[in-house]
């Protein structure tokens, strides 16, 4: 055929060099975590006088607003009634939970990206779908980690799991009102069956669709039958409907319920937006790094341009969702809602994160990726993707840590170290599985369209 471009088969090899680099990074992560833990153990409560006073004022501010919520007295100081674990341990738990949610997001967004491409019958991405597919291999690990660590972090991260909040002196009207969300069909304050079951079912569903879609994608390599593409599209369409519901509920369950008195109807979208743009940045970064090692000849500047537009556009989308949530709460000024932002904006621990979050996730990607050339050149994508990836870590940090640590939160070696450990584990799983299959689908019905993609 005149218009058919011939390309040779490609297979990624996960070299010992790459493994060594990752292992060293992992060791650095462990060392940083240990160092951070020791520092956190020794710092104790409120070391400086001035800081102690400031913290006291902030505590009082947050407490006075929480008291206005009409909740019980205990709602005023979460640490008061239930001391829970020592701050350093809480901080480890908090980081554990942040990374669980963050990397689960990367895995499920890998599958979501593939499903979107099938459902939209997209041709441009035909050559790059193996990378998001490889990322989705983290799903089973994410699921097990999530469920196991939920039982570990339990009371320290999720205030609502204290059973005495539902009966007697400490009874909390707000939480009693929400209890069915967690405890149904059992008695409130007992085992949160509905909650745990949801977690298990979500991961099971996601994993099932991942396996189905992956099966069709790999079978296509062998016999080149077009029916695999149609089957994968059907699975993808069903998965997208399921993902719309499950990702939203997962956001309430895993992140919003860390602040159990607070709620936002935007939250499902907000977390999805954060996951999605972050996933896109990771996919792009992996593609760029692979290309620089000489892989992926099927991907050229036109494909990078498209995925760069995705990052640019969804950075704005994230900002739109973030701002919609912020503006409504700011404007309505209802105490039970504003407490969330007062905790994050009026406290010395989190105020800088609040603005860093906006700079990294909106201003920098917006300005740096605006021109056409920036999206087509790997050098700029290599700068912007890490910015977005770090930015969304701050985003999840800001969603979870203030709710868990109150005013004891900090950002230091421990946060960086634990993120590194998770990142190395995630990359090990992703790259191992990337090496197991050809780097692009040679029998994909739209591969030729992708090769001639031109914008």
């Amino acid at each position: 055929m005149a218009n058919t471009t011939e390309i040779k088969d490609e297979r990624y090899s996960f070299t010992t060099g790459a493994k060594k680099t990752l292992t060293i990074l992992g060791i650095v992560g462990v060392l940083l975590t240990v160092l951070g833990t020791i520092l956190s153990m020794n710092s104790g409560h409120h070391a400086e006088e001035g800081h102690a006073l400031a913290t006291f004022k902030e505590n009082a501010l947050v407490a006075s607003i929480q008291a206005e919520e009409g909740g019980h007295a205990e709602a005023g100081d979460h640490g008061g009634g239930h001391h829970g674990s020592a701050p350093w341990l809480k901080r480890i738990f908090s980081n554990l939970w942040i990374n669980n949610v963050y990397f689960t997001g990367l895995a499920i967004i890998g599958l979501f990206f593939v499903a979107i491409q099938y459902a939209a019958q997209a041709g441009w991405s035909a050559g790059m779908k193996r990378i998001p597919l490889a990322m989705a291999h983290w799903l089973p690990f994410a699921g097990i980690l999530m469920i196991v660590s939920w039982f570990l972090v339990n009371h320290d991260v999720f205030h609502w799991t204290h059973s005495d909040l539902y009966h007697g002196d400490h009874a909390d009207e707000i939480l009693i009102g929400k209890s069915a969300m967690w405890y149904w069909p059992l008695e409130m304050g007992s085992f949160p069956l509905f909650y745990v079951l949801r977690m298990v079912v979500f991961f099971a569903l996601w994993y099932m669709f991942f396996m189905w879609i992956k099966k069709e994608m790999l079978a296509e390599d062998i016999d080149g039958d077009i029916k695999h593409w149609f089957k994968a599209r059907r699975h993808s369409a069903v998965f997208l409907v399921i993902f719309a519901v499950t990702s939203s509920v997962a956001a309430w369950d895993w992140v919003m319920s860390v602040d159990p008195h607070w709620f936002s109807t935007m939250f499902g979208w907000y977390m999805f937006a954060s996951w999605w743009v972050n996933g896109l940045a990771v996919i792009t970064l992996i593609i760029v790094l692979l290309k620089q090692q000489g892989y992926l000849q099927v991907v050229n500047a036109n494909h990078l341009h498209d995925i760069g537009k995705f990052i640019f556009g969804f950075s704005i989308f994230w900002t739109y969702i973030w701002f919609s949530q912020f503006l409504l709460i700011y404007y309505a000024n209802i105490p039970e809602e504003t407490v969330y932002f007062i905790q994050r904006l009026e406290t010395s621990q989190y105020k800088w994160v609040f603005f860093v979050n906006l700079i990294l996730n909106f201003f920098l990607p917006f300005l740096l990726l605006m021109t056409r050339d920036a999206k087509r050149h790997m050098s700029m994508l290599k700068i912007v993707c890490p910015i977005v990836i770090a930015g969304h870590f701050f985003d999840f940090y800001l969603m979870i840590t203030p709710g868990v640590m109150q005013n004891d939160g900090g950002f230091g070696f421990m946060e960086i170290g634990m993120f590194l450990i998770f990142a190395v584990a995630f990359l090990f799983v992703t790259l191992t599985n990337l090496a197991k299959a050809p780097l692009y689908a040679k029998n994909h019905p739209m591969l030729q369209e992708s090769l001639h993609h031109h914008i």
Partner: protein, 176 residues
Amino acid sequence: MEKNKHFVLGVYEDEDVLLSAVKTVRESGIKIQEVYSPFPVHGLDEVLGYRRTRLPIAAFMFGLLGTSLALTMQIWMLGFDWPMIIGGKNFVSLPPFVPVTFELTVLLAALGMVGTFMIVSDLKPYKKARLMDTRITDDKHVMAIDLASNTLAKDDIKKIVNESGASEVNDKDFED
């Protein structure tokens, strides 16, 4: 009025022939004024050697103008000219200004871009269209060569165009 604009038109049937023809015609030193085609032909911009448009820069500037205009307007109106307490907020508080700022940024960027485009492309009301060939809206690609901007003789140009694979070579004159 005298017809003082003279064009040579090469008519092509196929876009692949057109692409190679544009290349050969340009290589022989002829300036092509414009190529008309019934559908977008990929790669045509490159072989014609067009520079990328600087319209996005204009759009960015108009956007910046919109942003600053919107902020200035709101800060002046609500902060100084007629301060009002709304929802217990400060007179000058940024978050409520963001939606209007966003909308005006988009509006000015869009209108400015359209306006710039029309001025640059000399599109104006009552502008008389120069229709090179009616078949460009149907099934033919037409390459238009302005004789005034070329030094080669008309017959030489027609010969080169004909040899490049054109199905017909026509003359077209307009009064300016």
